[in-house]
Symmetry: C2
């Protein structure tokens, strides 16, 4: 199967996985903003642990009309930009185009399903540490594998075909039976670590687990998320928290991506990571007092920052 693939969202995630696919010989087309002359001239490079390569011919475009119809669209915009997809995606669609969202948190598959039809939608979870250095370079620090699944369905033949295409291009990719369960499992880590790292003053995972009170809050948040997942019908074992804590203890000190975004003044996916899980927990009748307070604080902190940014940029 020869996929024609579009990448919508050229941040670190979209660029990296798109570049891997292009480097592996897939037919990949990137939507990018702004002046494309440099990247068309120089191509796109990936540096990092055990991999250094350049995609010399990087097919990029300012509009999805220019890309036109594809078999697979990777959605990698920030969830805060989802509204833009309503106009961006249609030119890419034919009858059987699949949309694979690599976005974080909950609610993105539902958004895409509502606009483009549930049968097109797959979701993927990326386990990777990346940094977009410039328009033409991304650095990969660690990991890289993707877990993909169908939205609200068991895997189909296309699911395995997409996974095979990733694997053929050197991306570790596994197919899961229950995508929603995996999304909740990832939130067990993201909700505490991404949130606390920002609110506690910009600290990394090692600093969080070295502080006995923050560690207790982390564990308690994990337990809340597991209880909420279970109440929402996704069978996460209690042991999921232990497993994630062990993994975090053995990994190097790590700044969660949302903390890096926060420090760089970029928008946070507050609704996808904290808001939507909180609303689903509330709808299922599970108390999540810690998640509730994390959400209210992050939302307000983000608004305070946006106000400050507007003031800084006010014309003199």
């Amino acid at each position: 199967m020869n996929f024609r693939i579009a990448i919508v969202g050229s941040g670190a995630i979209g660029s990296y996985y798109g570049a891997k696919l292009a480097h592996g010989g897939s037919d990949v087309h990137f939507l990018m903003r702004g002046d494309l002359s440099e990247i068309r001239r120089e191509g796109f490079s990936v540096h990092g642990k055990g991999e250094n390569f350049r995609v010399a011919k990087f097919n990029c475009y300012n509009s999805t009309e220019e890309i036109s119809r594809c078999d697979l669209v990777l959605i990698a915009v920030k969830a805060t930009s989802n509204a833009d997809l309503v106009d961006l995606v249609p030119p890419l669609l034919h009858q059987r185009t699949a949309l694979l969202t690599l976005q974080n948190g909950l609610g993105n598959e539902e958004f895409l399903a509502a606009h483009f039809g549930a049968e097109r939608i797959l979701g993927g979870l990326c386990f990777i540490c990346l940094n977009r250095i410039s328009r033409t370079l991304v650095e990969r620090y660690d990991y890289g594998h993707i877990v993909i699944g169908e939205y609200g369905r068991a895997p189909q033949s296309r699911t395995h075909a997409i996974a095979s295409e990733f694997k053929r291009c050197g991306v570790e990719c596994s197919v899961v039976e229950d995508l929603a369960l995996e999304r909740w499992r990832k939130l067990v880590w993201n909700i505490p670590f991404n949130g606390l790292s920002i609110l506690a003053g910009g600290i990394d995972t090692a600093a969080i687990i070295a502080d006995k009170d923050l560690l207790r809050s982390t564990r308690a948040l994990m337990d809340e998320v597991i209880a909420a997942a279970n109440k929402c019908g996704h069978q996460l074992a209690r042991g999921a928290a232990d497993e994630q804590m062990r993994r975090t203890e053995t990994m190097d000190a790590y700044k969660p991506s949302t903390l890096i975004d926060f420090e760089n003044g970029k928008g946070l996916e507050i609704e996808a990571i904290w808001g939507e899980p909180l609303r689903r927990a509330a709808a299922a009748g599970t108390p999540t007092p810690r998640l509730e307070i994390l959400y209210s604080l992050l939302k307000s902190l983000e608004q305070a920052r946006q106000r400050a940014a507007r003031t800084d940029n006010r014309p003199l």
Copy 2:
């Protein structure tokens, strides 16, 4: 009764109430750090709503040995400096000297009782908005009344005598039967508003209650504090939260003192306001998940700030 009074702690609270007493003709002696020549020459002034006065002869000293024995000592240092009191207080004591702490939160009476004897100790809660402008000037914005009580005892004749002395000097002062109950009642406000205002990005009381999610967190924190107080044997009615919310809705937008301290790089009384109530709730077996997370975040944020301050001050 002619009190000889010492003021230990010459921040806004100590200076203001000491100045009121001195202006009313009490025999007041201030412990102050640093060069005293300016304040001895110029005296100390209070400006504000409905009051403008200067204490021309402001008795201040660099040591408590110079002040020597007093009948009443007002303790107004930050709780974070309590360890200094162990050496500062003894020169002020005679057999019947009373110690009245005007500090915030829980644990200060216990600290003083452990070092100087429980029978000496009284506590006071100050309801006031002040700002120390300079070494010789404090501005009072609103309120001013004090609520005092005995530590672990019903009011005694000295309690009423101290209250009368305040009243004679123009400070509204009432005597309460149960000091600990009043401390918890004040925490019902301080725990949410002081904590959230800092963690949510430096916002005032009006901004907190205008945000529906922060408002919900505020109410839920108040309920946790009331439940903890009740479990610790202090009968706070559920209605205490409604009462405080109504008061907050009618007052002007107000930055809690800890937020102002935080913004000015001054130390926060985290243990007195959040840590000690949390420990008492835990000891009594009351779950306080929101208080727990607030405490862990504030402590870490404060440490992050202290690290940043040390880095900023590093010699070149």
